[in-house]
């Protein structure tokens, strides 16, 4: 297990649980995804890009599973209270009040759009390289 998973503060755990529920509700009530004229591009493995209609069946399953896993990761809105990182290392911008964030099990936080784009390519935390699915499983076990 990665180093950054060893010292979770109680604060962060409650944060994670709180947002877990919120996420589900948000997804059920949210507006349908916007109509897209362009065929979306997916990345079944790092450095491999393919249009959605060119994916093999195996890749489609992999992507569907990945989307499912990502939707289990807690999200929230930046309220300025985070004592930890205030910057998203992916776009190198500071978080702005009201921006949508995603919290990884290793406690690293990113903009939701930034990290989701990366997680579709590689299911690891960009900062600590912790595989997200392994960390997800251990979170479930301790709950």
């Amino acid at each position: 297990m990665g180093n950054c998973f060893k010292t979770p503060s109680t604060d962060d755990i409650s944060l994670l649980r709180g947002h877990d529920n919120q996420d589900g509700a948000e997804q059920a009530l949210g507006p349908p995804p916007p109509y897209q004229e362009r065929v979306p591009v997916y990345h079944p493995s790092p450095n491999v890009s393919r249009l959605a209609n060119q994916l093999s069946e195996e890749e489609q399953i992999k992507i569907a599973k990945r989307l499912g896993l990502i939707s289990h990761l807690p999200v929230g809105v930046y309220d300025g209270s985070s004592k930890k990182g205030k910057e998203c290392v992916i776009c190198m911008n500071e978080f702005i009040l009201g921006e949508s964030l995603r919290f990884l099990p290793c406690m690293h936080t990113y903009h939701r759009d930034c990290i989701d784009d990366w997680l579709m390519r590689s299911f690891t935390c960009p900062s600590c390289m912790e595989p997200v699915d392994a960390a997800l499983l251990s979170t479930y076990e301790t709950n």
Partner: protein, 170 residues
């Protein structure tokens, strides 16, 4: 795309203001085209490249930082190093499989500098002649098998990338 440009501007500023030892960027020269940088490197004191001057080229694609930049040595003077081919291509895992968006141009410079500084003997990779004749112009298209001594051995990449032959034929 816009967010990429902002990030590149920040990275350029950071690298100009606070470059790792032996690294120099002329931001003036770059600002016309943010997606292509030339970075000057100088061999570290007390390393076998002491005083030698090299140039690195960075090309940032539209998917940066989700995909690694293309990085290679350019110009007359290519370092003679077991992980650097005579055409400037570098066999360094963070430039492909071990890339993460938390890395930056600065961390790539640091890795290249430390790769040079830690080298004990000037020699080309064993398959240099063959590689240089057959490789793609873009080093990112190479299906590298990392030279085990310097880099972590990569994980599943052998099955995933079929495009080209490995740089190490063993």
């Amino acid at each position: 795309m816009a967010s990429m440009e902002k990030r590149l501007q920040k990275e350029l500023l950071a690298l100009t203001k606070d470059p790792p030892a032996g690294v120099k960027v002329d931001s003036q020269r770059i600002c016309t085209n943010l997606s292509e940088w030339t970075v000057d490197l100088e061999g570290a004191p007390e390393s076998i490249y002491e005083g030698e001057k090299f140039q690195l080229m960075f090309k940032f694609g539209s998917r940066y930082p989700f995909e690694s930049p293309q990085v290679m040595f350019i110009g007359e003077h290519i370092p003679v190093h077991p992980h650097v081919y005579s055409n400037g291509h570098i066999c360094l895992s963070i430039l492909t499989y071990d890339w993460s968006p938390a890395l930056s141009a600065q961390s790539v410079c640091l890795s290249v500098v430390s790769m040079l500084s830690s080298c004990k003997e000037k020699k080309r990779p064993p398959d240099n002649a063959f590689y240089v004749k057959t490789c793609s112009k873009n080093p990112k298209k190479t299906r590298w098998w990392y030279h085990v001594l310097l880099n972590k051995v990569e994980r599943n990449s052998v099955n995933m990338y079929e495009e080209e032959r490995p740089c190490d034929m063993k």
